[in-house]
């Protein structure tokens, strides 16, 4: 089977206390001070085949979200490289790509265009997206007035109707109500098929068990274990 994602020796460094004023830069320059560095990801090697469903687990601050951010292209790796085949859709944070001043309607278009959809495609699926979200009443309200649940509903409704090959989901579902979570998960299940790849970050082991064909446990920026769901989850529970 063909690979959907290949990651080679990937490292990500963040600098702590990046200066924002010229006044902060001067001492750094004059006294040759260095900023503190933090390696969020350390030597990640990973390949994910097409059609695979990868669950990622790990404690807070372990590098899960950074990894998804790199795969989605939002931030660049400091070292190493990665390749992706196919269209990527990312649900990294609640309302990723939404603009607070835009109405729900406008955000459907904004998010769709960001994901590289044609306007005609969005128009074509618009009613379906709205029906799925169940927030038709608030379609012309700016999303900044939405509750976090409505936000997630809209974001997810657009995302599940996108045409993607790789879907990245980062703990977004935790915010919606149980019914909507179920609805989304079954929609993802329907659209998954044999060629679509899913990467799911979650603290909910039931969801991980249900969706993952493979689970990855990451801690302190390093891959600790990768394998079948149950064995990795058991390992995780023992080691955290």
């Amino acid at each position: 089977m063909e690979n959907a994602i290949v990651i080679n020796n990937l490292w990500k460094k963040y600098k702590i206390g990046q200066p924002k004023k010229l006044g902060d830069v001067l001492p750094l320059f004059l006294f040759r001070q260095k900023l503190k560095e933090f390696w969020a990801l350390k030597n990640i090697n990973l390949s994910i085949k097409k059609g695979e469903r990868l669950g990622i687990i790990g404690p807070n601050g372990s590098g899960k979200s950074t990894l998804l951010k790199i795969i989605s292209g939002v931030t660049a790796p400091s070292l190493g490289n990665f390749t992706i085949t196919g269209k990527v859709a990312a649900l990294l944070e609640v309302g990723t790509g939404f603009h607070p001043d835009f109405t729900g309607r406008e955000n459907i278009y904004l998010y769709g265009t960001i994901m590289g959809m044609e306007l005609s495609e969005i128009k074509h699926r618009f009613d379906e997206i709205v029906r799925f979200s169940g927030i038709k009443k608030f379609l012309d309200t700016p999303v900044k007035y939405y509750s976090s649940g409505m936000y997630v509903r809209l974001a997810f409704s657009v995302a599940v109707h996108l045409d993607w090959d790789v879907l990245l989901v980062d703990e977004v579902l935790a915010v919606g109500d149980v019914d909507f979570q179920k609805k989304c998960l079954s929609k993802i299940e329907q659209s998954l098929g044999s060629k679509k790849t899913l990467i799911l970050v979650s603290h909910n082991f039931d969801v991980i068990r249900k969706f993952s064909s493979k689970v990855l446990f990451i801690k302190d920026g390093k891959i600790q274990k990768i394998g079948k769901a149950d064995s990795v989850i058991n390992y995780y529970l023992k080691h955290v």
Binding site: E93, H99, L110, I114
Partner: protein, 261 residues
Amino acid sequence: MKLLIASNIWRFRYLLLLLVWRDVKSRYKQALFGFSWAILTPAFQALVYWLVFGLVFKIPTGNIPYLPLVFSGFIFWNFFSQSVSSATLSITSNSNLVTKIAFPKEILIFSSILGRIPDLIASLAVLIIILIFYQINPSVHILWVIPLLLIEMVMASAVGMFFASLNVYFRDITAVVPILLMAWLFLTPVIYPLESIPQQYQLYAKLNPMTGILEGLRNAVLVGAPPDNFSMLLSIIITFIFVIFSYLLFKKLEKGFSDVV
């Protein structure tokens, strides 16, 4: 490189359009007088300078009365300076997009410049009324306005990309740009004609690409003459060099935007 810019824009053309629309819409929704500010701002500026330099100091302006000279100067200058101001802030003020979505960030620069076009068109309508009032008849050379505005937009995106990328790392730029634009306004023939600069300094004035652009625009509208070849060529060359430099700098710094902004 140019092809790269073009393909990026083409792929994200709908995003560009939506951002332009958002920009224009939010600007006019919030202000009390809405769209009329596009006209009131240059009108007020022109009025003040007309009182001071037209009536009190009586700057010699040749065949052209001072009021149309300064008003046309301001609408073309404001298009540039407002484009630069909003482009400078475009990366930092869209941090929610920058930190969460993968897209070429120059889209934000271009959208803030294109978003200024409705203002320009509204103020051009007023300029036409002034031209009629002063009985200035346009000639076919008025068509020069179109390529000249395009060059002006290229120059605005060059300056915008330069300051926007630095502004991500040093917020001091937000404070520096307005001061710099004010100085630039006085160094460019906006409130005075090029001829009032002493002959021996004119070459230096023409090294400022905005001089050729502004003079060209004003010639096209008020005199009905084509732009001066030498000034124009100089403007185009300097603009071109600057836009390449800015784009490369922008692309280099862009990699860190989502981590730093």
